[in-house]
Amino acid sequence: MPSMIQTVGLKKSFGDTEVIKGIDAQVEKGQVIVVIGPSGGGKSTFLRMLNMLEQPTAGSVFFEGEDITHLPTNKLDTVREKMGMVFQSFNLFPNMNVLANVTLAPQRVKKTGAAAANEQGQQLLEQVGLADKADAFPASLSGGQQQRVAIARALAMDPDVMLFDEPTSALDPEMVGEVLKVMQALAKAGMTMVVVTHEMGFARQVADQVWFMDGGVLAEKGTPEQIFDHPKNERTKSFLAKVLVQ
C-alpha cells in the first residue's frame, strides 16, 4: 500500500533564496506527524507544498500514490478535498455564518444536498463543541471558537489527512487547550495528521513521529522520546534547550 503522503527531493526557492533544500519524507495512514523547528526554518512552506498551495521548484509530492505535483487545477481540486487544512489565522469566511462556513464546500464540491449538508454540519459543530454557534458570524466568536469551526469546516469534506499550520499560535493562552483537545480527539479517532506546532506537550503526547526542521531540511526525525529525550543533532538540542526552558 502506498504512503498517504510521500515527498521526493522536494525543493522550493523564493527568487534566489532556497528555503526548502530537498526533503524526502513519508506520512503513513493513521500517523500523526508533528513538525517542530525554529522560525523561518521552512515548516509552513513545506506543509503548504503538500497540498500545492505552494508550487515546488523541484521534486515531487505523491498523495495516496499519485504524483500531484503537476496536476491540472480541476484534478488538483479533487485531491485538495481529501487534504483538510487548518491555518494559524483561522481564515473563516466572514461573509457567512458558522454553519454556512462548514457546509459551503460539501454543497459546492461534493454536491451534497442542503439538508444533508446542514445535518452533517451540525454534527461536526457538536463534535468541536460549538453546536449552539451555528447561526453566529465568525466575527462574534473568540479565537479558540473560530479555530474549532475551521477544523469542523475542514472535516466536512471527510478528508483522508489533515494539515495544521500552527493552529494555536494566534490564540490567547487560555484558548489553546480547547483546540488541542479537539485535535487530540481527532488523532485518537485515527485521523492522519501533519501538525506544525510549538506545543511540545502536544507533540510528546500525541505524535507518532516528530520531525525537526531547520534551514530547509529535516534535520532529525524520530519518536517523541527519541527527539525530546535523546536528540542526536546539535541543532535539535539547542532548539529544544531554548523552547523547553520557557
Partner: protein, 485 residues
C-alpha cells in the same frame, strides 16, 4: 455666426480621424461612391425625407418654443423640403457636432446660421447664402453716449463667440481690443451686463433679438469693413452633393426674390414673444424635469452596465488567460487615458448609433474601466488567506470567487460604486455635445428661449446639488445598514 471652440473642434477631428483610420466604415465607401457618381438628390427623393441638423439655441434663426424647434432656418428647411417634394425631419445637435453629422450621413443638411467660411468649405459643400445680416455691437444702455461704432472700442474690452466671424472681425479691425471669447452668446450677454466686457459683437439679427428682450441693452451698427469676410449664412451639405445643392439653390433664389426671410424673421419674432411672455424658471420646469430624467437615466444605466463590464474586466485582469488579461488591461488603460467626450463622440459619429444609445454606452464603457479598477482593488484587498482556505477545501477558483471573495470585495467597494454613480451624474453632462437632452442641454435651451443667462445656471446648479447631495445621503444610509448587516 456661431463659433466653434477649438478644443471641441480638435476632439471632433480626432474622433473623425479615428473613425476614418480604424473603421473602414460604410460611410467611407459611401463617400467614394458619391465622388464617382453624385446621386445625392436622387437619394433624398428615394428616401422621401430630408434630415436637417440644427442647434436650436440661436434665436431668431432657431430656437425652441414648447420644446419644438422654430425660427427662420426651420421655415427655410420646410420650404426646401416642400420644393423637393419630401418630408422634413429636424434633428437637434450641438453646433460643434453638425459638420461631423454631415460627414457621417446622420443628417443631410445643416441649417444652423452657419457661415460658409473657406475653412468649412474644405470639408463640406455650401449652398448660396440665403441671408445677409450686418454686424452689430451690443452695449449697455448706460454707455450709449460713449460708443458709436467699432472705432470707439479701440483698446477696450470686447466679446465675441470663439472662432466666429465676429471674433476675427474684432481681432483684425478693432485696434488694441482686449478680446474675450466665449462659446455661447448667452454667456457673453452675462459678461456684458456684469461689465466684464464693454461691447459684444454679434450678427445684427441676433443682436436685435437679444436687445429686444433685455431693456438695459442697446444695439449699435458695427460699421465694420465686410468686403472680404465670408459674410452671410448658407446651408451645408456633405461633399460632392452637387445635384442636391443645385436643387436647393433654386429654393434659395425664390426665397430671396420674394423676400421671404423678412416674413420668416417676423414670424420668429412672434414665436419669441411666446417664450419671453413668462421667463420665470418655474414656467420652464418641464425643460429641467426632462433634463433630470435623462441625466439620471444615463448615470444609472452607465453605472449598472459599468459594474457588469467592470466585473468582467477585473476578472479578466486577475485571471490567468494571458490574451484576455492584455485585452482587459489595454481597454482599461485606453479608456482611462482618453476623455469621455471623445469616446462619446467616437461612438456616436463613428459607429452610427442613436445619440441616447451612444451616450449611455459611452458613459457605461467609460465607467466600466473605472469600476474595473475598484473591483480589482476590492478583490486584492480581501485577505489572501481567504482564497487559500477556500482552495484547500477543494473549491474551484470560480466558486471561491463567487461565494467567498466577491461578497467580501463588494462590501469593500460598495462606497466607491456609490461615488462612481454620483460622479457620473456630474460627468454625464458631456453627452449634451451629441444632443442628448440632459440637464446641461436643457439649460442651454432655456437660456436661449428666455434670454436669461444666469438664472438657468443657478437652477441647474441647485438641481445638480440636490441630486448629488440627496443621493450621497441615501448611499450613506444604505452603507450604514449594510455595515450593520
Amino acid at each position: 455666426m456661431k463659433g466653434k471652440h477649438w478644443l471641441v473642434k480638435l476632439l471632433i477631428w480626432c474622433s473623425m480621424l479615428i473613425t476614418l483610420t480604424t473603421a473602414i466604415s460604410i460611410s467611407q465607401t459611401q463617400n467614394v461612391q458619391a465622388a464617382a457618381n453624385d446621386n445625392s438628390l436622387a437619394a433624398i427623393k428615394k428616401k422621401g425625407t430630408i434630415v436637417m441638423g440644427t442647434s436650436p439655441d440661436y434665436p431668431p434663426y432657431e430656437f425652441l418654443v414648447n420644446n419644438k424647434p422654430v425660427g427662420m432656418d426651420i421655415a427655410i428647411g420646410k420650404q426646401i423640403a416642400k420644393d423637393l417634394g419630401v418630408k422634413l425631419v429636424v434633428k437637434q445637435m450641438d453646433f460643434d457636432a453638425l459638420l461631423v453629422g454631415l460627414e457621417t450621413h446622420k443628417i443631410d443638411m445643416v441649417l444652423s446660421a452657419m457661415s460658409p467660411t473657406p475653412e468649412r468649405k474644405q470639408s463640406v459643400d455650401f449652398s448660396e447664402p440665403y441671408y445677409f445680416s450686418g454686424q452689430s455691437i451690443i452695449i449697455n444702455k448706460a454707455d450709449k453716449e460713449i460708443y458709436k461704432n467699432y472705432k470707439s472700442f479701440y483698446n477696450k474690452k470686447v466679446g465675441a463667440q470663439t472662432g466666429s466671424l465676429q471674433y476675427d472681425l474684432v481681432k483684425k479691425q478693432i485696434k488694441g481690443a482686449k478680446l474675450t471669447g466665449l462659446t455661447k452668446v448667452t454667456d457673453l450677454i452675462i459678461a456684458l451686463k456684469t461689465h466684464k466686457i464693454d461691447g459684444l459683437v454679434a450678427e445684427s439679427a441676433v443682436a436685435t433679438a437679444y436687445v429686444k428682450n433685455n431693456p438695459d441693452l442697446v444695439v449699435i451698427n458695427g460699421g465694420f469693413d465686410l468686403t472680404d469676410t465670408g459674410d452671410g449664412t448658407a446651408i451645408a451639405f456633405a461633399k460632392n452633393s452637387t445635384s442636391l445643392v443645385t436643387a436647393v439653390n433654386k429654393t434659395i433664389t425664390k426665397i430671396k426674390q420674394q423676400k421671404l426671410t423678412t416674413k420668416y424673421l417676423a414670424d420668429a419674432g412672434k414665436s419669441l414673444k411666446v417664450n419671453v411672455a413668462d421667463t420665470s424658471m418655474w414656467s420652464y420646469r418641464s425643460y429641467f424635469i426632462k433634463g433630470i430624467g435623462y441625466t439620471l437615466l444615463i448615470s444609472l444605466v452607465g453605472v449598472v452596465l459599468g459594474v457588469l463590464l467592470g466585473t468582467l474586466l477585473a476578472l479578466c485582469r486577475l485571471g490567468s488567460i494571458a490574451p484576455l488579461k492584455w485585452l482587459a488591461t489595454g481597454y482599461v488603460e485606453f479608456i482611462r487615458g482618453t476623455p469621455l467626450m471623445i469616446q462619446v463622440m467616437f461612438l456616436y459619429f463613428g459607429l452610427n448609433i442613436p445619440a441616447l444609445t451612444a451616450g449611455m454606452v459611452g458613459v457605461a464603457m467609460n465607467s466600466g474601466a473605472y469600476v474595473a479598477e475598484y473591483i480589482r482593488g476590492g478583490i486584492d484587498s480581501v485577505a489572501k488567506g481567504q482564497t487559500e482556505a477556500a482552495r484547500s477545501l477543494g473549491l474551484s477558483s470560480k466558486d471561491t470567487l463567487r461565494y467567498v471573495i466577491m461578497p467580501q470585495a463588494l462590501k469593500i467597494i460598495w462606497p466607491s460604486l456609490g461615488n462612481e454613480f454620483i460622479s457620473l451624474i456630474k460627468e454625464s453632462s458631456i453627452v449634451s455635445v451629441i444632443g442628448v437632452t440632459d440637464i446641461i442641454y436643457q439649460l442651454r435651451l432655456v437660456q436661449a428661449a428666455t434670454y436669461k443667462g444666469i438664472a438657468p445656471y443657478a437652477v441647474a446648479m441647485v438641481i445638480y446639488f440636490v441630486l448629488v447631495f440627496g443621493l450621497t445621503r441615501l448611499l450613506n444610509f444604505a452603507e450604514r445598514k449594510m455595515q450593520h448587516a
